[in-house]
Subunit: 452 residues, 2 copies
């Protein structure tokens, strides 16, 4: 055999011999039935102890690369060699749908001075030290797929009091944020090709999920009363809505539309997913009750999270499901990722039970209300505010396509989203969406000057 072995220094000589022979077998330089030099001969050639070579040979034999034949020596075995020529890169390809799915919003690499991004809370005002004290509780097992019992009880009380959601701990499944709640519901309900109705404009991450699952996603227009129920396609299996604070317009769904939507869902045996995001930050008016509370026929799944009331990095959300879906949702959570981290769940249960979540929400509501007022009263005259009394962002309509202005703003360090980014239809109203969770009042004032 003519395999070249070169030793470097005096360390791990056996290992060096082993690796070089193995590479030679694997890349085809040594072929099945090639004879290896006797250990004594190779040792002399390489100027090492015979045992050094023997150890390498033994290891290769143990792994099946070499075989010894009594009386005739050591040979390359069939097992370790590739039957075909090695090719770099395979023909394996993802399903085609993934070509058109990318995280939203696309990550902006431009430096940001004035951060009007949507859906980002102010994490600087979070009581981090308190939260750290609560972490690291004694929860070490795989956990229950539906979630920590104490957390489910705490959430049931919290949303029962603050949102009149009719629920108990047994109805709740803890999820990794709203996104996983939507995914679990789809796993349980959707067959490939099933139709899902969404709001237009609407919340892109949800739409991307539905598309990735092979659903037929139908966009239904939104007006100043929320989703246009009359425009729903008759065979939708799921209707995904944001009734408290339409994303991104901010309008609440009127009671008339809520009643109509529930009636529609009953007649068509469709499931309504109620994404009740941003409802904790309400600055005026009385919230209309959630669909979940108005629904008496089990056609609503209510979903929520703590990403905006606490921290996006928590990745804790939940769903409240009607009885016929609960077992399947539990199994869907289990096959998806077994359970959400129990330590974080236990800490969150304490955080809610000790009143710290309610206190933080009260504090942040005052803060966000101040930013909301500053923003809405100082919008430049070329923008018309869409009335809205809640949440972490406002939408403003423009007469013309704001894209050229946005390009200039972004160059000046303003991170901002256009309304068109929440819609795929050509007829999307021109407008801008201003988030104020990640920007201080001072920043808002200065940023608006640039927008103006």
């Amino acid at each position: 055999m003519d395999v070249h072995i070169s030793l470097d220094g005096r360390r791990d000589l056996s290992g060096q011999i082993y690796r070089q022979l193995r590479a030679a077998i694997r890349d085809g330089r040594l072929r099945p039935d090639d004879a290896l030099p006797p250990t004594r001969e190779l040792a002399r050639r390489l100027d090492v102890a015979r045992n050094t070579v023997s150890v390498a040979y033994d290891r290769l034999m143990g792994e099946g690369y070499l075989t010894g034949r009594v009386g005739s020596g050591t040979f390359v075995s069939e097992a370790g060699t590739p039957a075909h020529a090695v090719t770099q890169g395979s023909a394996l390809r993802p399903r085609p749908v993934w070509d058109s799915i990318a995280p939203w919003p696309s990550q902006d690499t431009a430096p940001v001075t004035y951060d009007f991004r949507v859906g980002v809370p102010d994490t600087g005002l979070f009581p981090h030290a308190t939260w750290r004290r609560m972490l690291g509780s004694e929860q070490h097992g795989y956990g229950n797929p539906v979630g920590h019992k104490g957390l489910r009880a705490a959430i049931a009380r919290h949303i029962g009091v603050s949102r009149a959601v009719r629920t108990g701990p047994g109805d709740i499944v803890i999820t990794s944020g709203i996104q996983q709640a939507l995914d679990l519901i789809c796993r349980v309900m959707l067959e490939p090709g099933d139709r899902v109705a969404v709001e237009d404009p609407g919340y892109p991450p949800a739409h991307l999920l539905f598309r990735s699952l092979g659903a037929d996603v139908v966009r239904v227009p939104v007006d100043d009363e929320g989703l246009c129920v009359d425009a729903l396609p008759p065979n939708a299996r799921i209707v995904y809505v944001t009734p408290s604070h339409q994303f991104p317009l901010g309008v609440p769904m009127s009671l008339r539309r809520r009643t109509a939507l529930l009636d529609w869902a009953r007649r068509h045996e469709a499931l309504v997913i109620e994404d009740d995001y941003d409802t904790e930050f309400r600055f005026g008016g009385r919230p209309i009750e959630p669909l979940q509370n108005l629904d008496s026929s089990g056609h609503v799944v209510y979903v929520g999270s703590f990403s905006k009331t606490m921290l996006p990095s928590l990745r804790i959300g939940f769903l409240v499901a009607p009885a016929p879906l609960r077992q399947a949702l539990r199994a869907a959570k289990y096959v998806s990722d077994w359970a959400s981290p129990m330590g974080t769940q236990a800490a969150l249960a304490r955080f809610i039970d000790e009143g710290l979540l309610a206190r933080h929400i009260r504090r942040m509501r005052r803060e966000y209300q101040a930013r909301h007022e500053l923003l809405t009263t100082n919008l430049p005259s070329w923008l018309t505010l869409v009335p809205c009394a809640a949440g972490l962002h406002v939408t403003a309509l423009a007469k013309d396509d704001p894209a050229p202005a946005v390009t200039r703003m972004r160059a000046a360090g303003v991170a901002i989203m256009t309304l068109a980014e929440c819609s795929r239809s050509e007829s999307a109203a021109p407008g801008l969406v201003f988030g104020y969770g990640a920007i201080t009042s001072t920043g808002i004032a200065k940023g608006l000057e640039l927008v103006r």
Copy 2:
């Protein structure tokens, strides 16, 4: 109108009136166009101030339940009333597949004294205080779907050194344990009805996931060299294997079979998922290199987790994917749950970088080796050990069905699994699986007496 309103005490009288009227409208006792009594009249009837009633009426008007008509009074509006009779419970049903999917192993409610459960590490020996110090790092945003950069680098180094996995941080996606890694791969690769080949006996949670996604799951026998590659169905799109430590038998896949499997995957353009669980706890012999290292054509996705080396409650795992699948896997993670919790990821990166993971693994390896020896040298004579030099469990074959004996053992407080629970085939070999992660040496000795 004859709606009965009864007030309790003197607190929140407006709220009491509001809620009772709303309930009457919603359940149909009050119907559209019914007139409400004038505020003055109702106030007198209820013996409250007129303003108390006005506030309730205003709130119901604001929410659309009532309308005021100038000069004629207050009426129930159409909007708030259900168009159909209210029915309890809907006809909504989960997809039929979910009827047969339940978390595995089924939760045993019997009290456990001798815990031979499989796949559960000893969390009592984990350095909890050290870990707690690392939690709560400054990671508050939604995070990158592929995971924390420092953690991906730390994992790449860790598995590069300990397992010769050829990878860099850019190849890795952080997941919520192995289960989510499998789910992401399926989302990216599988069309409904696609065939997935699995080991028989094998790892039930993976099989449940594949079935729930609509895959055609084909069970392929395992012998003392691991998966019988010759028995693979020709049109499998994915082959899921546990080559380091076959689950549950514990045998490693021979080099010959590894080479054959890779060759098979290349020829059939199938993806091999290599679940390299339990490989850190090896008590003898030299590990065969992972398929990922032997694969030069990009047909292997390597998956691993920290559930057994650290804590199951962490819910952190990872996958190492060939280049053509990476963008899609990133998008799949994003639509699934946006990203795994960044704080835990940052803490884990530190834990690995500071050598604490390696130290904990060394310590646990000694501990588990002692338990492994105790168990394998003291098995009752009616059981035959399947040779195995790694992991957190051993399998032993019985001559007859051990189910009756297991029933008696469980009644005596022994938690143990049968081999049949990892197989759906009638011909499953009779046997028992002994986990030793959750039981001390003393417990093993006493538990084995009961098994005997």
